[in-house]
């Protein structure tokens, strides 16, 4: 059993009581709400005549269903408009703060939480969305929950939970040029399996992680859930504190100094005990790319696709299905595969540093004929910052569409969808069948830089072949 890890410390601090079932009643410090998984929860509150118990710890935004092209109300999709109205009605009735359409703080829930300084070390954070693990980048515990649990948090500010085990994932040595946080997490998922993290919290550490900026750490923690781990986290450090300082909801003045003391106190002790430990070397990581129908079906960009019989038995059936769906063959390479759509966005990779990195590769170039390119900033703030830096000009000149903030093509529940059997090079996090809105659509996950290259080449390519030239040109 783990001891003295950040996980243990926060868990203990937030424990309210042991429930009759043996589960822990855990206090939730921050509840983030979005339009898709909350209407039914608010309705249950209404039916039971319950209030939101800590409205000041609850913040809502709209991201999944919002169109990212034309956002004038009413939305063209009547279902989207109804859902939006419902959220607006609910926050009004229950006294919850909403960053809605037209608000400067609107955006993907896992982008705005950190950006506004709502996400802070030491917190327990819940949201009716599996990628709540993102917030762990700040040394908080971010729990992705279902709608019944959203109801629980609204009504009680608590969750009934079983304690997780803690696995320490130590990554030594910096990643090489052209290799990104996305590649590292895809590699971790590949190595440990898409259900390898079940029952675990992942603690990411080692100097490869320590040298990463907050946005890279968010990319890593974001995809913990794709490895089956409910939460992932990084111990907070100077990089974390610096990122938080000055943000809208961050503590100020004397309180900020006190906050730092507290944040330091919740870090894992050197003597901490873990349930499992794993070591990796950042130098060994290469650009990764998925070829299948789950985020664990990935290869290094220059590798050949696996031969089914060489795979572990339990992966074979899913690999067969993947080959049929993706229309790929065993032993072939992903490099050179033609793409139809290039998507830069999602809570994994739609922050300003992601856009800057992608823009480097796009600058002065044109996207290939027959490729639709989409850049969707994760929040209004990211969009405005990018426009200030004229990244939008770079993307638009190259032929990309420059959109408003939202989940967009990450999942098919807004106006952005793949058509037919289109293949999308995507900076998002899930390549499940039908994920991007077409039952026959194909998703290939990769880093935003790699999506940029794929858009320009019209086919999947190794970003490292271009990275040197770009860095030299910039320096």
């Amino acid at each position: 059993m783990s001891e003295n890890t950040l996980f243990d410390k926060i868990w203990n601090q937030h424990t309210v009581k042991e429930l009759p079932t043996g589960q822990t009643q855990l206090f939730i410090g921050l509840h983030l709400v979005h339009e898709v998984t909350s209407p039914q929860a608010f309705q249950m509150l209404r039916e039971n005549n319950w209030q939101v118990s800590f409205p000041e710890r609850t913040f809502a935004t709209a991201d999944h269903i919002v169109p990212t092209n034309n956002q004038t109300r009413p939305f063209q999709d009547p279902l989207a408009e109804t859902m939006m109205n419902e959220l607006e009605k609910n926050v009004k009735e229950f006294g919850v703060k909403l960053f809605g359409i037209g608000n400067q703080n609107q955006g993907i829930v896992h982008v705005i939480g950190p950006e506004l300084g709502l996400t802070q070390p030491g917190m327990t954070i819940a949201c009716g969305d599996s990628h709540t693990s993102t917030h762990g980048a700040f040394g908080s515990l971010g729990f992705g929950i279902g709608t019944s649990q959203v109801r629980d948090v609204l009504a009680t500010q608590c969750l009934a939970m079983n304690k997780l085990k803690v696995r320490k994932i130590e990554v030594k040595e910096k990643l090489s040029l052209g290799v990104y946080a996305k590649d590292l997490i895809l590699n971790i998922i590949h190595e440990l399996g898409i259900n390898g993290g079940k029952g675990f919290a992942y603690e990411y550490c080692g100097n490869a992680i320590e040298q990463m900026n907050m946005e890279e750490r968010m990319t890593i923690c974001n995809m913990s859930i794709e490895g089956g781990a409910l939460i992932g986290y990084v111990n907070p450090d100077q990089t974390t504190f610096k990122y938080i300082q000055g943000r809208k909801f961050a503590p100020t003045g004397k309180k900020f100094d006190l906050a730092i003391q507290y944040w330091k106190s919740i870090c894992s002790e050197k003597s901490a005990k873990y349930d499992d430990k794993i070591k990796m070397n950042g130098k060994d990581i290469e650009p990764m790319i998925t070829w299948g129908i789950n985020p664990g079906q990935s290869i290094k960009i220059n590798q050949k696709l696996p031969i089914i019989v060489d795979l572990p038995e339990q992966q074979q059936e899913s690999a067969k299905l993947a080959y049929t769906h993706m229309n790929l063959e065993e032993g072939q390479k992903m490099e050179g595969l033609k793409i139809n759509v290039a998507f830069i966005g999602s809570c994994t990779n739609s922050r300003i540093t992601d856009l800057r990195e992608a823009a480097k590769f796009v600058n002065g170039k044109k996207i290939a004929k027959n490729v639709q390119g989409l850049v969707v900033p994760g929040s209004v703030a990211v969009k405005l910052q990018a426009e200030k830096e004229e990244l939008d000009v770079i993307f638009k000149k190259a032929g990309f569409e420059w959109r408003n903030a939202g989940c967009s093509l990450c999942l098919g529940m807004n106006t952005d969808k793949l058509k037919g059997t289109e293949l999308c090079a995507s900076s998002s996090n899930r390549n499940f069948i039908g994920r991007q809105g077409s039952p026959k659509g194909k998703t290939v996950l990769m880093s935003p830089a790699m999506v940029a290259i794929a858009a320009i080449q019209g086919q999947i390519a190794d970003v490292r072949k271009y990275a040197k030239e770009i860095t030299q040109a910039i320096n």
Binding site: H14, V16, K17, L19, P20, T21, G22, Q23, Q25, G29, V36, T37, Q40, Q43, N48, W50, H64, A80, T82, M83, E86, G122, M123, G128, D129, S130, G144, I145, G146, T147, S148, Q149, R151, D152, T156, C158, A160, N162, I194, N195, G199, I225, L230, K255, L258, Y262, S265, N294, Q314, E317, S318, G412, M413, R430, F432, I433, G434, R435, G437, P439
Partner: protein, 202 residues
């Protein structure tokens, strides 16, 4: 409501890593209630673009009316959408047997009163073959004895300890219970530094 056993027929759904996007495609999440979710379960796998039925366990007449679902590894991975569990529940599923399940999916099932029980690969495969052949078989899953009984056979099952307690004592819906612990909630609030101006009390 206490849940101690589930009796009925089973539906066999082979395959590992069946994610919640497959159980219910995102476009059906646009409704603000769960009422219609049963109509959309496995929609893209059950129907083609013209809405013609495709080959799928949930379309097979011999499994019609079944209330127990038998699956394989890592069922319900991916999105936390509770819609997936509502879709299965409204289709008629009351209990799921499998080799393993994704965490959030399992919690969602618990909160909706659907027991999740597991058995080893060999047992599941045997069970699947048997039900394929004799779909009319009546099964009885006992959460007390942690086994499944059918036509003189018995397979032992595993269930998460706290879930078992929750079902047997009828406390799987814990909102009310947690709500009653107001005193303890207030006490916890007092000791969390970021709720008290970052002043740490020992």
């Amino acid at each position: 409501m206490k849940i101690t056993e589930i009796k009925g027929h089973a539906i066999v759904l082979p395959g590992n890593d069946i994610d919640t996007d497959r159980i219910i495609p995102a476009r059906y999440l646009k409704e603000i209630t769960f009422t219609n979710m049963g109509n959309y379960v496995f929609f893209d796998e059950r129907f083609d673009e013209q809405k013609n039925k495709k080959e799928h366990s949930f379309n097979v007449p011999k499994f019609k009316g079944a209330n127990i679902l038998i699956v394989q590894k890592n069922f319900g991975c991916g999105s936390s959408r509770e819609h997936a569990v509502h879709a299965l529940q409204k289709f008629g599923i009351q209990c799921i047997i499998g080799e393993s399940f994704a965490g959030i999916f399992e919690t969602n099932c618990l909160n909706l009163g659907i027991p999740i029980v597991t058995a080893g690969q060999a047992e599941i495969e045997t069970l699947m073959k048997f039900i394929e052949k004799f779909p009319e078989t009546k099964l009885k899953i006992s959460l007390i004895e942690k086994n499944i009984q059918f036509t003189g056979n018995q397979i032992s099952l595993k269930i998460n300890e706290s879930s078992q307690k929750a079902f047997l004592t009828g406390t799987w819906n814990s909102t009310q219970i947690m709500k009653e612990n107001q005193k303890e909630i207030q006490k916890t609030v007092q000791k969390i530094p970021y709720l008290n101006g970052f002043i740490q009390k020992v």
